[in-house]
């Protein structure tokens, strides 16, 4: 196996009294799509911004393309591409001008016209940045991030705030990049995004990596159990539901009870009997295969969107 293209070891970072990163470690191989999955404030953006050279770390070792993002400055930036989370371009900058300008900054560059065509922005070449929709702005950000044929591409929450249709468009683009064996480090708090796009995922919570592996490996943590989501007419205690037949675990969040069962039919029968005895009723019941959400829930006791 070749040396990892990204190496992160015991990364720490604090902002005033807040400890944002508490020893984050992971490696990314060349050609891999690696995801950092976690709720807002978990430390994903801090990690990525340190890897992009935008912030110094307080401690730990970081290497991207064999370079230290902090000490190698402009040479390092020749090697990476990035879609940042909170960024913009000047309102009166035209789409074509933006791509051509960024292309001019790099030694290795792609044809701006070809990039615009690939990202469906050919007709918007002369449109001002302010005239673009959210999806078009994100496609432009992706086009600009690829202008230097980067060895590593950082995508920080690339679909946050976009509507589902635009999000799917962006997924298609990232899947194409994945097929081209582009090395991508992606941060997200969307389960679907991590499961669909990433070869491997690190689940991040409160500044720590609490689990990592392929989405399949991670979901096998919940193997042997099936997730049942319930809504009830009246609240019940978690402890009572945990005593039902076949129940391995139960958490309640926002009025939804997530029950992990090893024997689904028995659990449902005993649930119905129990609710009847309590004079309570089922409002809804969904049975689903385990997802990364369940892994997160098992590990932290919280849902990703909490």
């Amino acid at each position: 196996m070749t040396a990892p293209i990204i190496e992160v070891l015991n990364l720490t970072k604090h902002y005033g009294a807040v400890q944002a990163l508490r020893g984050v470690s992971f490696e990314v191989q060349e050609g891999e799509v690696f995801g950092l999955l976690g709720p807002n404030g978990a430390g994903k953006t801090s990690t990525v911004e340190i890897l992009e050279g935008l912030r110094p770390a307080d401690g730990g070792i970081v290497s991207v393309c064999g370079l230290d993002p902090q000490s190698t400055g402009l040479a390092f930036k020749q090697e990476i591409g990035a879609v940042l989370q909170s960024t913009a371009l000047p309102d009166k900058l035209k789409v074509g001008e933006a791509v051509a300008m960024f292309a001019s900054f790099y030694k290795r560059k792609r044809d701006p016209a070809a990039l615009l065509k690939r990202f469906g922005l050919e007709e918007k070449r002369n449109a001002f940045y302010s005239q673009l929709s959210g999806g078009q702005k994100q496609r432009l950000a992706l086009a600009m991030s690829l202008v230097n044929e980067p060895r590593v591409l950082f995508l920080d929450e690339p679909t946050a705030g976009l509507d589902p249709q635009v999000r799917r468009e962006i997924y298609t683009i990232i899947e194409e990049l994945k097929h081209e064996r582009k090395t991508i480090l992606l941060t997200t708090h969307y389960i679907e995004e991590a499961e669909k796009l990433c070869d491997r995922v690190a689940i991040v919570d409160q500044g720590r990596v609490i689990a990592q592996g392929t989405p399949r490996e991670l979901k096998q943590r919940s193997a042997g159990t099936t997730r049942i989501e319930l809504r009830l007419a009246r609240p019940e205690s978690d402890a009572a539901l945990k005593k039902l037949d076949g129940v391995a675990d139960c958490h309640a969040s926002d009025g939804v009870y997530v029950v992990h069962s090893t024997r689904v039919p028995q659990t449902i029968v005993s649930l119905v009997k129990y609710l009847e005895a309590q004079g309570n009723e089922l409002s809804s019941l969904d049975i689903a295969a385990p997802s990364l959400e369940d892994v997160f829930l098992e590990l932290t006791g919280r849902r990703l969107r909490d």
Partner: protein
């Protein structure tokens, strides 16, 4: 250097698409031109170069206003951080600010000269080499000053307040609007510590008395040293990130820009002849108001 030039071209395009920039860089100075020359030099051709010197100074000083606001807005909107993740240094970003401003201000200066000649029948051009030197140094100095302001302020509102204070001082205490000899003596003395005063009086001397460059050496030196210092400091203090707050030490460091003017002001107060030269230039206007000559 190549990046600085690319950014300069892009920023010039952005400026020309910005109505506020067009108004403040072209329309606003021309309003001053017609106001000053129309009111004070319409039937007095001898006063045209003197008034034009004031208009040129106002045009040049305007550099700091737009630049500081633009840079702070870029930072607040996260535009600068997009450049930061590319191989673009702070020096290229700042140099492009000054260069684009310089290139865009020169046509306004040319138009002002042309209108003074054509409409107000200006019959002498002054020392054009000296005008060019002072205008060039002035734009760079005041643009670099704008970059310093952008470096030490955290929001557009804060930048606007500081700009307003400085702009008022430059406009009304330097001789740019009210001739220096007409101002109370204590203001004349205070004016010796303002960069704007050296620009205004320097321009008056090359326009009216048509002195050579050597005779405006002090003005040129003060502007050049300040431009270099302000550019160096703005590079040191430059912040790409909206949340990166400026520390109080940086504000003190930024204040170092006034050092050349402080020294020059002290020297002018004790040994200099700037106030008497300003009075001489003022008296070349045929029908002057009585200058305030009390010491």
């Amino acid at each position: 250097m190549r990046n600085a030039w690319t950014l300069t071209k892009v920023r010039m395009r952005l400026a020309l698409r910005n109505r506020a920039f067009i108004f403040f860089s072209l329309v606003f100075p021309l309003i001053f031109l017609f106001l000053f020359l129309g009111l004070f030099a319409r039937s007095n051709v001898a006063a045209v170069p003197y008034m034009l010197a004031s208009v040129l100074a106002i045009t040049v000083m305007g550099s700091f206003w737009g630049l500081s606001i633009q840079l702070v807005t870029f930072r607040e909107q996260g535009i600068l951080r997009r450049f930061r993740v590319a191989p673009v240094g702070a020096g290229a970003m700042l140099a492009s600010s000054i260069l684009s401003n310089y290139i865009l201000t020169l046509p306004t200066v040319t138009i002002e000269f042309a209108l003074a000649r054509r409409i107000f029948h200006m019959n002498q051009w002054g020392n054009l080499g000296g005008v060019f030197l002072l205008v060039s140094l002035g734009i760079v100095t005041f643009a670099a000053l704008g970059l310093i302001i952008a470096s030490v302020t955290n929001s557009t509102q804060e930048t606007q307040v500081i700009n307003q204070i400085l702009w008022s001082a430059f406009l009304f205490l330097s001789g740019a609007t009210l001739p220096l000899p007409m101002l109370p003596v204590w203001i004349q003395r205070f004016a010796l510590f303002l960069p704007a005063t050296y620009l205004v009086t320097g321009l008056e001397r090359v326009m009216v008395a048509q002195v050579g460059i050597m005779q405006i050496g002090a003005e040129v030196l003060a502007l050049a040293v300040s431009a270099a210092l302000a550019f160096f400091l703005s590079q040191q203090l430059f912040r790409w990130e909206p949340e990166a707050k400026v520390n109080p030490r940086a504000k003190l460091l930024a204040a170092a820009t006034i050092v050349p003017f402080l020294l020059l002001g002290l020297w002018e107060t004790t040994h200099g002849n700037l106030r008497s030269a300003a009075r001489t230039d003022f008296l070349t206007i045929e029908r002057p108001a009585a200058p305030n000559t009390n010491r």
